[in-house]
Amino acid sequence: MTSAVPGTGAVRRGWWYVLPLAVFLVALFLVPLVRLLRLSFSPVGPYNAALPGWTLSQYARVFTEPYFYGSLLRTAGTALLVAVLCVLLAYPAAYALARRRAGVLRTLLFVIVISPLLTSVVVRTYGWVVLLSGTGVVNRALVATGLRDQPAQLLTSYPAVVIAVTHVLLPFAIIPLTTALGGLDRNLHRASQTLGAGPVRTFLRVTVPLSLPGVVTGALIVFALAMGIYITPLLVGGVTQPLTGIRVYDQVSTVFDYPVAAALSFALLALTVVSTALLAGVFRIWERRLHG
């Protein structure tokens, strides 16, 4: 086929290059998602079997029963808390990484930082169990130092879930922050200093505002991942943790109510998409005001 305008033919042909990926995504992501959406509108019969037909009753249950909507609120709150913790913990680490010159030491530091991503969830969780169980390192230290008379219930507690999820998701905050901080022009710091601003003021008035895109990116990624995370909280916190991911897992694996599990999944997905979009939108407006 010849084309009148040079280049358009090639551009049109370029679409073929993404075909394998498109097939992959449609077959393995879009199709199951649509089927899941269909399932969330199905009525249930005896023994919670999905029946043909359409109903909104699953969504009604999700938004009226505290067991479900309470978990949604708790999950959003947890995700927000984890996002804030991750950014606060990631910032100094990213700052140290970004300021270090490229070399063996920086590579090593970077590997350590992203190590939670490189270890399997089982190994990582077993590590937490070793630390937090009744006879674990932390409890033995607490008892030995006399801070507590008897071991505390750490392993299946909500704080343990927050700590473990923060640990797992920390790299997702460190990576964008390191990029943002590493991209800052060193001369901006120097300019600030020659104008009389000391290190603290320079950090607050130059470094922090200019690294905000990295902060927001990191926080959004961590938030979205924390909304859907369930294996780590399940293994560290147990099946009774009031988080949506665990509730969905519970409905699927013990109650066998697939339609309500699907409805709860979509409610979680919608909440995630809407809240991240809102956060991103607010940041966009703010940034546009800032950069004109």
Binding site: N187, L188, R190, A191, Q193, T194, L195, G196, A197, G292
Partner: protein, 384 residues
């Protein structure tokens, strides 16, 4: 035609014109790998001093030492009687302008200029007044609410200048501030920078690798090479009387000839004798330089004025037209070449002859710069 900036009288010499910098025994880098090694450099109050040198000569290290970003290995830096060597950059009260402008992208032009004033906790009214004054100085009155991104490179550098001057520094350090601008804008900014310096009277230390820039702007030029000052002098001094071979070749172009004086006004380069040199005693070794624009080309055998016979014969190697002048290369009998620059007078009257034409290259003996002389006289055969 660019005005001779040095002839401009200051509009109103400012009483705040402090800014005397004394640098003593300054060394930076490590033992055995010194980036900088200065015995002494005295920067006068209100002067425009250029630090000129090739990349890696230590000029940026020198500027960063004055600013406080580089901790010197030895030596002292004294500004207006106060030893600032151990002080951090934010307690030196100096202004600095960077090659890449380094404007705060998240602030308006006005906020950028006000930055140093806010740090100093000046009142709102005084801040506004000083910001207005600084922006007027650089001709950007209407741009206060713009963002740096909305400005051209030249405008951004003016904002950077205004920001640095707003704090009324005793000394303004400029790190190749014009290098990111295009050639035409660079020339305009040069004129303006010098005019601003005249108006505010601030001592300016200007780092550049551009000799033309340094010649056009400076009261004095410090030529740096290998971390040392090769020469410190006014632009005409360093151009007309370069102290070393490096200075002669770095500032402008130079034909450097090395040989033994014949005692009769010649220099034996080792077989080839070049005439027309100031009287050096016979047998003395000398290194001399002749600027390309001082060399004239005449046809062999023609009378060429009072210095007839002064010079050397050769053939034209190539010639090229550069607009305002011709560049030519004269190949001498022993294979070495002389570069020649002939100002174009229009209508082809001054055009050098074409390649291959035999010519005599001659010059006024007064134009010969003696760079080095003395030392053991060696036989001519060993001279090369």
């Amino acid at each position: 035609m660019e005005p001779d900036l040095r002839l401009n009288e200051p509009d109103e010499p400012d009483e705040r014109a402090a800014g005397h910098v004394e640098i003593e025994g300054l060394a930076a880098g490590y033992e055995g790998a010194r980036v900088l090694d200065l015995d002494r450099l005295s920067i006068r109050k209100g002067e425009f001093l250029s630090i000129l040198g090739p990349s890696g000569c230590g000029k940026t290290t020198l500027l960063n030492s004055i600013a406080g970003f580089v901790r010197p290995a030895a030596g002292r830096i004294v500004i207006d009687g106060e030893d600032v060597t151990g002080r951090p950059p934010y307690r030196r009260g100096l202004g600095m302008v960077f090659q890449n402008y380094a404007l705060f992208p998240h602030m308006t032009v006005a906020a950028n200029v006000a930055y140093g004033l806010r740090v100093r906790r000046l009142g709102k009214a005084e801040q506004a007044e000083r910001v207005g004054e600084a922006l007027r100085l650089v001709g950007l009155e209407g741009y206060a609410e713009r963002r740096p991104k909305q400005l051209s490179g030249g405008q951004q550098q003016r904002v950077a200048l205004a920001r640095a001057l707003a704090i009324r520094p005793a000394v303004l350090l400029l790190d190749e501030p014009l290098s990111n601008l295009d050639a035409k804008l660079r020339r305009e900014m040069r004129v303006e920078l010098r005019a601003i310096q005249r108006r505010v009277g601030t001592t300016m230390v200007f780092v550049t690798h551009d000799q033309e820039e340094a010649l056009a702007l400076s009261d004095r030029i410090a030529v740096l090479n290998g971390g040392r000052i090769e020469q410190l002098g006014t632009p005409d001094e360093v151009y007309r009387r370069p102290a070393t071979r490096f200075v002669a070749q770095f500032i402008g172009a130079a034909n450097v000839l090395e040989g033994t004086a014949t005692g009769t006004g010649g220099l034996d380069l080792g077989g080839l004798v070049v005439n027309a040199l100031p009287g050096l005693p016979e047998g003395e070794r000398a290194v001399v330089a002749i600027r390309p624009e001082r060399v004239r080309l005449t046809a062999p055998g023609t009378a060429a004025g009072p210095e007839t016979g002064a010079g050397v014969a050769g053939t034209v190697g190539y010639r090229s037209f550069a607009g305002d002048a011709w560049h030519a290369e004269v190949r001498l009998a022993d294979g070495r070449t002389l570069s020649v620059r002939i100002a174009d007078t229009g209508a082809g009257a001054s055009d050098p002859p074409g390649a291959g034409t035999p010519v005599v290259a001659s010059w006024d003996p007064a134009d010969v710069i003696v760079l080095e002389r003395g030392g053991a006289s060696r036989p001519a055969t060993e001279a090369r």
